[in-house]
């Protein structure tokens, strides 16, 4: 579990000042029964806990913009059911209390994201108010944020203040007007075309926590370790190579990986004098395997999940 003070933080704008005494979240749009929830209303609703990893879509290979925690919140499907979405409802815009200008040609607007209604209706989708059994710290979205386990972090909107249910035809939302629709897109070149699709589910990935790149070690037996996670399914196995991917050995998984959490892996390495390139590679139960290299057709900076080489020298 990542302690809240070590949990990664990514913001687009300044953190907003929010009073728990006046905060509320409004549910509106293509629904039959709009309503508001105060902090008291929210925390007194039935809640559930989920251990889930949260990763920034732009987290580098072996980057630190990823953390794992136990979240508690109110299932979003329950809130939406109560609002009774209309038959043409397709998306949910989650709007935050922080705001600013993303691009020169855009207005200063609140941070927002659009998530398909179908994803919001999955039981694991939460309006979270606790992290590791404590109320969310301010930097993590106090008093409440969205949480979509298995999806990259940008959709887990912090400092939530509005949930707007939309139809497929509703294009004039803050999400589009702010320019947010230009971010978090996968851009893949195929011939002369560039296909643009929205980033959502977290790609299978592992990172090496030890050793770090450039480490010099006396010979000995070492525990190479790190974490692995995937948005599609639980981690099935992690392999480790110390020879730049020529040979691979299975690492041990610390516990049975949960569907949404990361798992710690460990590999015992008898390091004899020489130069080494350490890599880890994860696979999940959905059949996804971490790629050895970045897809050269990708022209964006997201889903950076290839196996990063770590150089070590042993004497």
């Amino acid at each position: 579990m990542t302690p809240p003070n070590l949990f990664f933080v990514r913001d687009h704008f300044n953190q907003p000042e929010i009073s728990v005494e006046t905060w509320n979240v409004r549910i509106e749009g293509r629904i039959a029964k709009p309503y508001e929830l105060s902090f008291s209303d929210l925390v007194e609703l039935p809640s559930r806990k989920i251990e889930a990893v949260l990763e920034c879509a732009g987290n580098a290979a072996n980057g630190s913009a990823v953390s794992n925690g136990v979240w508690e919140g109110v299932p979003l499907p329950a809130l939406l059911h109560r609002a009774q979405p209309l038959p043409d409802a397709r998306f949910v815009m989650l709007e935050a209390a922080d705001s600013g200008r993303l691009f020169e040609d855009c207005s200063s607007l609140p941070y927002s994201q659009m998530v398909p209604l179908e994803r919001c209706m999955e039981p694991s989708s939460l309006i979270a108010f606790k992290l590791n059994d404590l109320l969310l710290p301010k930097r993590h979205g106090f008093p409440a944020r969205a949480l979509f386990p298995g999806w990259y972090g940008m959709d887990s909107v912090k400092w939530l203040r509005r949930i707007v249910v939309m139809s497929a035809q509703d294009q004039q939302s803050g999400f589009h007007q702010s320019g947010m629709d230009r971010l978090y897109n996968r851009a893949k070149r195929t011939g002369n075309d560039v296909q643009v699709t929205r980033v959502s589910s977290v790609r299978v990935k592992s990172s090496v926590a030890w050793p770090n790149d450039g480490l010099k070690l006396p010979k000995g037996r070492y525990s190479v370790w790190g974490f692995a996670w995937s948005g599609a399914a639980a981690i099935r196995d992690v392999s480790v190579s110390v020879d730049a991917g020529r040979t691979w050995n299975l690492a041990g998984l610390q516990k049975q990986a949960g569907p949404d959490s990361w798992v710690r892996w460990e590999y015992q390495w008898n390091a004899t004098p020489g130069e080494y390139v350490v890599m880890s590679r994860a696979a999940d139960h959905a059949g996804n395997q971490q790629p050895l290299q970045r897809d050269p057709a990708r022209k964006d900076g997201y889903e950076l999940n290839w196996c990063l080489p770590i150089h070590c020298s042993v004497r």
Binding site: E17, S19, V20, E21, S38, F39, S40, D41, V43, E44, L45, P46, S47, F129, K130, L134, L135, L136, P137, K138, F142, P143, N212, D213, G214, L215, K216, L217, P218, K219, G220, R221, Y222, R315
Partner: protein
């Protein structure tokens, strides 16, 4: 609401709840007329209340059961029965009785409030939240009720729900200073620091309020300022809390803690001494003051205070460790070992206690090596992969000329913690002693490599 409060509620219930029409027909005393039944109900009710006050809860249950048999639709009887059943530990039936009382008389918030307490006793958080929602929906303007629930939930450490109820109390118009202070305390506890500061600061400056309440508010403001990193403001408010009410030990402790975090140990000592002078009956100052005296190199004074603490609270583990620490700094190895032995005898499973003891014993002028090895064997039983066990064992074997064993122990320590330089150094020195310069050089080279590598 406590049991006595519950009894008072019952006594205060209007007699209209005892209307003859509510009386059951299939009970004992079928021959009683309505007036006699009413009289009998009153008698049972009074006796049940007496039983409750005397903590004869099983008797109270029986009496209320008989009363509700006479008047099965009486919310007063059912509420009394529910409270008595809860007091006797029969929570499931208590909840059932209270639900019936609530169903019959939904205008009273008390059965639901009592259900919240029972839900907690049953560890049924879903039901507890459902009852809180029901209270919120049916009694949104009852500030007293929500403040009462907030206090109960806070007592039970359900801080988030306590805050929710405290906010409901405020929204219902419960703006009395005590409720406001409670809200500020809860906001500070959950991390809503700006809200806590605003509420506490306002109370702190209201001169018509009691000094104790203002001091409490100043303390909350101080803690919240500390949490948002404004140390100077925090110190100012905590000093004000002490000035307003010098009898509150928490203000001194919080201020000393702040000074400790800033490594201003002399200031911490001064504050804690002031606290001790103003609240002489408190033992809460002994551990931090003893530890801070040691940090300011007033070793003997620190040890004396910590011993005073241990006389009163022998389970204060940290005091043993601090005495050991001070003794080591004073060069009194025997006293260090004794302090650790005292801790080990009370807490044989205390983390690393045997390693600490072995290390302390090795620091003595005359070392009982077999005893050190005994400690290390015990340490290994508790933590078989603790590299310190093998490192210290290696040192013992070197000192007792068991070189082969020493090499094995030091190598095991390296294997368990390869980036620690101590075992390489010991191994290198040992190889030198054994006349194996090649092996010694190899260890020294590793040590140099390890220490020189910037990325390590």
């Amino acid at each position: 609401m406590n049991l006595i409060g519950a009894c008072r509620f019952i006594a205060a219930c209007a007699s209209l709840l005892l209307a003859g029409a509510l009386f059951g027909q299939d009970c004992a005393h079928p021959d009683l007329n309505p007036q006699e039944r009413l009289s009998r109900f009153h008698d049972l009710d009074a006796r049940a209340q007496t039983a409750m006050q005397q903590k004869r809860f099983t008797d109270a249950v029986e009496l209320y059961r008989e009363a509700t048999c006479l008047a099965p639709e009486s919310p007063r009887g059912l509420y009394g029965l529910g409270v008595a059943q809860a007091a006797s530990g029969d929570f499931l039936n208590a909840r059932e009785s209270l639900r019936k009382a609530d169903h019959i008389q939904p205008t009273s918030p008390l059965p639901l409030a009592m259900e919240v307490r029972i839900d907690f006793s049953l560890n049924d958080m879903d039901a507890l939240k459902a009852d809180l929602r029901e209270e919120a929906a049916r009694f949104p303007r009852d500030a007293q009720l929500h403040a009462l629930l907030a206090r109960f939930l806070a007592e039970k450490k359900l801080v988030t729900l306590a805050l929710a109820e405290s906010l409901r109390a405020q929204q219902a118009g419960g703006a009395d200073p005590d409720s406001k202070a409670q809200l500020a305390i809860l906001e500070n506890a959950v991390g809503a620091y700006e809200d806590a500061i605003r509420n506490a600061d306002a109370l702190e400056h209201r001169t018509e309020l009691s000094l104790a309440l203002r001091a409490s508010a100043a303390g909350v403001a101080g803690l919240s300022y500390e949490s948002i990193g404004q140390r100077d403001e925090a110190i100012h408010h905590l000093q004000e809390a002490i000035r307003l009410d010098p009898s509150r030990e928490n203000s001194y402790l919080a201020l000393a803690d702040l000074f400790e975090q800033a490594q201003r140990y002399a200031d911490a000592v001064a504050v804690l001494k002031q606290g001790r002078a103003n609240v002489p009956a408190s033992t809460a100052f002994l551990l931090p003051l003893g530890s801070d005296l040691i940090r300011t190199e007033q070793y003997q004074d620190g040890i004396d205070l910590l011993r005073e603490l241990l006389r009163r609270s022998p389970d204060a583990d940290q005091a043993y460790l601090s005495i050991a620490d001070a003794s080591r700094k004073m060069g009194n190895s025997a006293q260090e070992v004794q302090a650790l032995r005292d801790l080990a005898s009370r807490k044989p499973d205390y983390p690393m206690i045997h390693v600490l003891l072995a290390r302390a014993m090795l620091n003595g002028s005359t070392v009982d090596y077999p005893k050190v090895l005994e400690e290390l064997a015990q340490a290994e039983k508790l933590a078989p992969a603790d590299p310190d066990v093998f490192y210290l064992r290696g040192k013992v074997y070197i000192a007792t000329n068991k070189y082969k064993e020493a090499v094995a122990a030091l190598n095991r320590s390296i294997e368990l913690r390869p980036l620690e330089s101590g075992p390489y150094y010991q191994l290198a020195r040992l190889y030198q002693k054994l006349g194996k310069p090649g092996l010694a050089k190899e260890q020294f080279a590793r040590l140099k490599y390890l220490e020189a590598a910037p990325s390590n």
